[in-house]
Subunit: 217 residues, 2 copies
Amino acid sequence: MQKVDYEDLSQRVYRALKEMILNGDLHPGERLAQDELARRLGVSRTPLLSAFTKLEREMLVQTVPRRGTYVRTFSRRELLDVFEIRLRLEPLGARGAAEHATADQLDELAALTQRYEEIVAAGVPERARHEDLAFHTLIMRMSGNVFLSTFVESSNIILIANVQGLIKPAEASLAEHRELLQAIRARDAESAEALMYRHLESSRAALEQGLARAEGG
Amino acid sequence: MQKVDYEDLSQRVYRALKEMILNGDLHPGERLAQDELARRLGVSRTPLLSAFTKLEREMLVQTVPRRGTYVRTFSRRELLDVFEIRLRLEPLGARGAAEHATADQLDELAALTQRYEEIVAAGVPERARHEDLAFHTLIMRMSGNVFLSTFVESSNIILIANVQGLIKPAEASLAEHRELLQAIRARDAESAEALMYRHLESSRAALEQGLARAEGG
DNA sequence: GGTATACGGTTCGTATACAAAATTCAAGCG
DNA sequence: CGCTTGAATTTTGTATACGAACCGTATACC
């Protein structure tokens, strides 16, 4: 029997904070005072500090020694830098997914695509972003490259938490997701890689434009 | 005046442990008992735990809840996975370096290349590996992409700590380093990217062969 | 004889305690 | 009136304390 894996308090606090940052409950630049947050979460400062450390290595928060911990803010340049990395790594992940995915994973990806379609149709951008993240995250996991999926996931969370409303319309992504699903299902590594690259490249262009507009206006 | 930046105990412990792993003072699979290590380093368990957390997110150690923390071991597949990522990211970094390097950084890179040459000539493989790491790390820093340099650095430390003797001869790398230096100096982004890719691809091939040999024999 | 179980010792995870640095705010000075 | 200075307060970083989970050994049982 599989033992239900116990989760540390630190781990739970970590996930809670990550979720709060992703959802914008903690906004970029906000100071994370240890005492206050610990009280608010009902834990001592110890697991909280551990969570801060994890988040810091993921670039989601920034700690200044003897000063405090803040939700990290990203410059326009930095966001594009993160996207540039995504653009290099996710195609590799898509290729790996086509090569190594299990049947169960393929089913799950199909289900995710289906759900994405429904949510896009329902027109709830908030949920669509979450679903889009889940789609990309699953593909990276399917590649079987743990380092890749871990890192790409962090990158994508940074982006999602910081570029609300600056991404391309979900309707455009939907078609590309469908094509990706097909290529991965067909075990066509070349196509999967190319499709992911094109998918992200057009997103990157949209982001660059969106950021320029946001800065200019 | 630039204030000399104060370093946490946690941070110093973190760097010390990282160095120990890199140098093989702590070998893969070794258990890191909190009490013993804390005594050995002359600190309490608090900063040590913080260091563990950092190292864990860098994949250098692995913590099993309620069991302990161990120096991470990597399978053959995992090492190649890490290298695959390097192969995608470092060319991006080389391109960025050619585009954004400052004059000071170019001088520093030239100095590093010079030192690498001397160390290779002296024939101390231990030091050559360190110098090789420094060369690649600097190029990533020169790109100005913080996320890239942070992540690639972690990847490279994993590799260096785990593939002793399985890498290609430093003499071969030296010529490629010189070419890279030239391309970056000339601000030739295309060449820099391509050269880095070729440099790493031949290293990857050597590693793959080395690992197969190590496993087979 | 081999497996299961209970007990003691150890180690981990979390909470709390304490010292030092940083921030605040008000009073003194230019 | 603004700037500097200094003590009170807050907050951080580190050490220690404590309860609970895990490990090893020895004993009981099949």
